[in-house]
């Protein structure tokens, strides 16, 4: 037991250290050390300003953490069993993807992206949008995150499906787990193997990617990093045999919907211009 937590702890620690250092490096490069420093004095008033979004996001995460197991039971009893339907629909696409493109180097890259790249992708926008003069972008981002999680949780309850590696064990190698069993300890702690539709890895990454594109005038460097990274996460979910193409398409649709909704719900405060509205006006 203790050993298991020790493994988990070491994975989490490593994850935290690598995320923080990546954020620092990319932060200095794309935001600049001066503005980055401003985050410190900005932090307290910013948190006060963002109170509703913080409450929203934290409560969605809390509900997800507390209710997930119970909702899983609901899903088992009343959910739609869609594994067979998804497989009948898209067939062996994921197996083909792996068979065609898998090399050890790519596997290493996509495994890294799936775990570490993804966490960095999700954390960094807090830094980047936190140093901005206006708070609208960060509000929108957090609203979009919360929507992603909330809708994802509903979908996981309604749909009961296993991922490709569980259906095509011979064709789809569980690359991530084979290469890094410690990661397995982490992912199995937070993920049910029936929560595949939609792919939240995809939807959250695409959400960050879309925000990066929308704020490209402010942070051209970040847009250049985030877009390929988000795309890599999207590909990684299928390459590693974790998600179906259908999950990924649904994830992308969810991301577009959430970003759109966050823009509809949250308009810039009076007198504030956000980077993207400014560019839209030009």
């Amino acid at each position: 037991m203790i050993e298991r937590y020790a493994v988990l702890l070491s994975v989490v620690t490593y994850l935290a250290i690598s995320t923080v250092s990546l954020c620092l490096i990319v932060g200095v490069a794309t935001i600049g050390p001066g503005r980055l420093y401003r985050l410190r004095q900005n932090a307290l008033p910013r948190i006060r300003e963002l109170k509703p979004q913080i409450i929203l996001l934290v409560s969605v995460l809390l509900v997800s953490a507390v209710a997930r197991e119970r909702l899983q039971v609901v899903s088992q009893l009343y959910g739609l069993y869609l594994t067979g339907a998804i497989f009948a629909f898209e067939g062996e696409f994921v197996a083909w993807l792996q068979a065609t493109f898998a090399t050890p180097l790519r596997t290493l890259y996509f495994s890294w992206v799936y775990v570490y790249g993804y966490v960095f992708l999700l954390v960094f926008p807090f830094v980047a949008y936190g140093v901005l003069e206006e708070s609208t972008t960060l509000k929108r981002l957090m609203t979009a995150y919360a929507l992603n999680y909330a809708i994802g949780l509903v979908c996981y309850t309604v749909v009961y499906a296993h991922g490709p590696r569980n259906i095509m064990p011979d064709m789809v190698q569980p690359l991530l787990f084979t290469f890094n069993p410690d990661v397995l300890a982490l992912t199995s702690q937070i993920n049910e193997n029936t929560n595949v539709f939609p792919s939240l890895h995809t939807s959250l990454s695409v959400t960050v990617g879309l925000f990066a594109l929308l704020t490209r005038r402010e942070y051209p460097g970040w847009a250049a990093i985030a877009t390929p990274l988000a795309l890599s996460v999207v590909i990684a979910t299928m390459y590693l045999g974790i998600h179906w193409l259908v999950d990924v398409i649904a994830g992308i649709a969810l991301a577009v919907g959430c970003v759109f909704a966050s823009y509809r719900f949250i308009s810039p405060a009076a007198g504030e211009t956000t980077e993207d509205t400014a560019s839209a006006v030009e």
């Binding site: 298991r4 069993y81 067979g84 497989f87 590696r165 064990p169 011979d170 569980p174 069993p181 397995l184």
Partner: protein, 630 residues
């Protein structure tokens, strides 16, 4: 799924009705005759099994079958679900077309185990009782006949029974898998190549390694040989262990097992069919009157069993207490047999039998306590040797289970009159009398059992083989749940576990060879993989159709591909019991009864389709197998 050409053709006919109709009045009657008929559509079958994480083999068999079903023009969907969900669907709700599963046995199969499996009497009952819904007089007669037959006559009856089952194929016996296990060297001794590791008796007879360092070179006392044969190397280890056990096991004597099966962490009810695989842990928690090992019967809770007459045995019990301190008496034994055949204890309109142990509970007509320590058990019309099987059911405490006899209700509403509280109870804190007692469980994570120091094994009782006296040698059994077979092997390799108990797949096995500390133990298991058909519904109610489907499975190829050779193809559910297997059902390179349409896994599609045509099915011009629209 996909609209068949036939359906579209029908729509076209309907659409052009007006035009055709007006063209000629005489034609109207003809149009009515055509359009009035129900059209045909493609046949659809749903195949259910567990995902690869839960069992690496079932899904591979399912995919093999699915591919070939599609090839012969049947729309097939493979649905995966967790064990408890799968078996709730198949065994309790009986809502499936085809399932792929393992026979729930860890012992060599006695032919009588087929009695509940195939007898029509159990058709409406939930559990591993006739999950197929086969109702056949010939099979019923043979099942009854083998129960009463003398030892001389029984083999011939059992041969006929196997032939009849093979002919009708209510299920396809696919393979007998090897029970592969990764075992860590040097901590415990007594793992044997020839026996499944998770057998309760095997776990109980393990002994601690004499010294931790030097043990890896000694081969762990693994011996090969037949079931029930004398142990050789182990005998030397025993003397040392016995003293250790009596003095109290050393501080780190925790036996750590890993499994992918999460069910025992959620539910520990010995009679809940959907939560039990073969009942290893419930057998360690609950004692039975006798235990079997190979061909030996070991007097367990029963100190002695003597025949009063042809049908009745008198059982005298050992001193035993329940884990909660209450004494175990003959009344508990009498209660158990009554309870297993009717969990409502006579309060429901009709008996509600326990869904497990049905074959054995139907062997008993009554059990009566003579005094506190003596009970008389009366058998049904069966040969004494078969009847004794009934003494291997777990004995349950009356003071716990007699409170669970009411019809189950959710918030006061009775959902189903055929279900008692006892069947749906999670039994969170099981009170048994067995050599292990329950300590704690956290779902999705682990289960902890502790050695029961009050158990009679600790007192080195008479009648119990030497290797079980003073056992178990561990003072705690820790069962860790892991997400996949690969993770299970990693646990053993990293010295975080002593052995794996769930199935290991083709990717996991080579890893064992690469790890210095892990060793592979294997033995042909009785838990054969089978393809079960729901014969209650069309088209699987048709034995010709079932035989054609059976011919789509290349069992030898499945062994090579899905099991990497760690299995034996089989044509009879008794294939691993040499003395029972019918000679003409021996798998000799090909299946003797339903040979594969093709060679080396490659299906001869035309030959297979011809078999379906011969069974009376039709194809459209695009090769779609047609059925009447429902």
């Amino acid at each position: 799924m996909t609209p068949s050409p036939a359906t579209t053709r029908r729509a076209v006919i309907a659409g052009s009705l007006a035009g055709l109709g007006t063209a000629s009045a005489g034609c109207l009657g003809r149009v009515r005759n055509i359009a009035g008929r129900e059209g045909s559509t493609q046949m659809t079958l749903d195949v259910y099994t567990t995902p690869a994480d839960a069992d690496p083999h079932g899904i591979r068999v399912a995919r093999h079958l699915e591919e070939h079903l599609r090839a012969v023009g049947i729309a097939t969907r493979v649905n995966t679900m967790a064990e408890a969900d799968l078996y709730r669907r198949v065994l309790i709700n009986q809502s499936f077309d085809i399932y792929i599963g393992q026979f729930p046995a860890h012992q060599r199969i006695d032919p009588d185990a087929l009695y509940p499996f195939c007898h029509s009497e159990f058709n409406p009952e939930p559990g591993w009782q006739n999950p197929f819904g086969i109702t056949d007089l010939t099979i019923d007669d043979l099942l009854e006949e083998q129960r009463g037959a003398t030892p001389e006559d029984r083999p011939a009856v059992v041969d006929d029974l196997q032939r009849e089952i093979a002919r009708q194929q209510p299920f396809v016996t696919v393979v007998f898998p090897d029970a592969l296990t990764a075992v860590q060297r040097g901590r415990f001794e007594g793992w044997r190549r020839d026996e499944r590791v998770s057998k309760p008796m095997r776990l109980l007879s393990l002994s601690l390694s004499g010294d931790d360092e030097g043990a890896s070179g000694t081969g762990d006392g693994e011996t090969t040989g037949d079931d029930g044969s004398e142990r050789t190397e182990e005998a030397t280890a025993e003397t040392t262990t016995e003293t250790t056990a009596v003095d109290g096991p050393s501080a780190d004597a925790t036996l750590r097992l890993v499994t992918t099966d999460p069910r025992v962490a959620e539910n520990r009810n010995p009679i809940a069919a959907e939560y039990r695989r073969d009942g290893t842990y419930t057998e360690l928690l609950y004692d039975s009157l006798i235990r079997t090992r190979g061909d030996d019967r070991i007097p367990w809770l029963a100190r002695d069993v003597s025949w009063l007459d042809e049908q009745t045995v008198r059982v005298s019990l050992r001193e035993a207490t329940w884990h909660d301190g209450e004494p175990l008496t003959a009344a508990d034994v009498a209660f158990t047999y009554a309870f297993l055949s009717d969990t409502s204890m006579g309060t429901a309109d009709a008996p509600i039998p326990a869904p497990r142990f049905r074959g054995r509970s139907t062997l008993v007509t009554g059990a009566e306590a003579v005094d506190d320590r003596t009970v008389d058990v009366t058998f049904a019309d069966a040969h004494p040797q078969v009847g004794l099987r009934a003494l291997t059911v777990p004995i349950l405490p009356e003071h716990i289970w007699s409170e669970r006899t009411e019809v189950a209700a959710i918030a006061g509403i009775e959902v189903d009159e055929q279900t008692t509280d006892a069947l749906v109870w999670d039994n969170p804190e099981p009170v048994g009398s067995g050599p292990l007692r329950f300590v704690e469980a956290s779902p999705g994570d682990r289960v902890v059992f502790a050695r029961n120091d009050d158990h009679f094994l600790d007192r080195g009782p008479e009648g119990v083989p030497a290797d079980l006296r003073g056992k178990p040698a561990f003072d705690e059994l820790l069962l860790n749940l892991v997400p996949s077979d690969i993770a299970a092997v990693e646990h053993v390799a990293d010295r975080r576990a002593d052995a794996t108990v769930s199935n290991l797949g083709p990717e996991a096995v080579p890893r064992i060879g690469r790890e210095a500390d892990a060793t592979l133990v294997s033995r042909q298991s009785s838990a054969f993989y089978h393809v079960g058909f729901n014969v209650r519904n069309e088209p699987l109610s048709n034995p010709r159709f079932r035989r054609a489907v059976a011919g789509l499975i290349d069992k030898a190829h499945v062994v090579d591909e899905a099991f990497q050779g760690y299995a034996q193809p089989a044509a009879s559910p008794l294939a691993n019991a040499d003395e029972w297997l019918a000679d003409d059902l021996r798998f000799d390179g090909r299946d003797p009864e339903t040979p594969f349409f093709g060679t080396d896994g490659a299906l001869d599609v035309e030959a297979a389709r011809e078999a379906f045509r011969e069974a009376g099915y039709r194809y459209d011009d695009e090769g779609v197998l047609l059925v009447r629209e429902p």
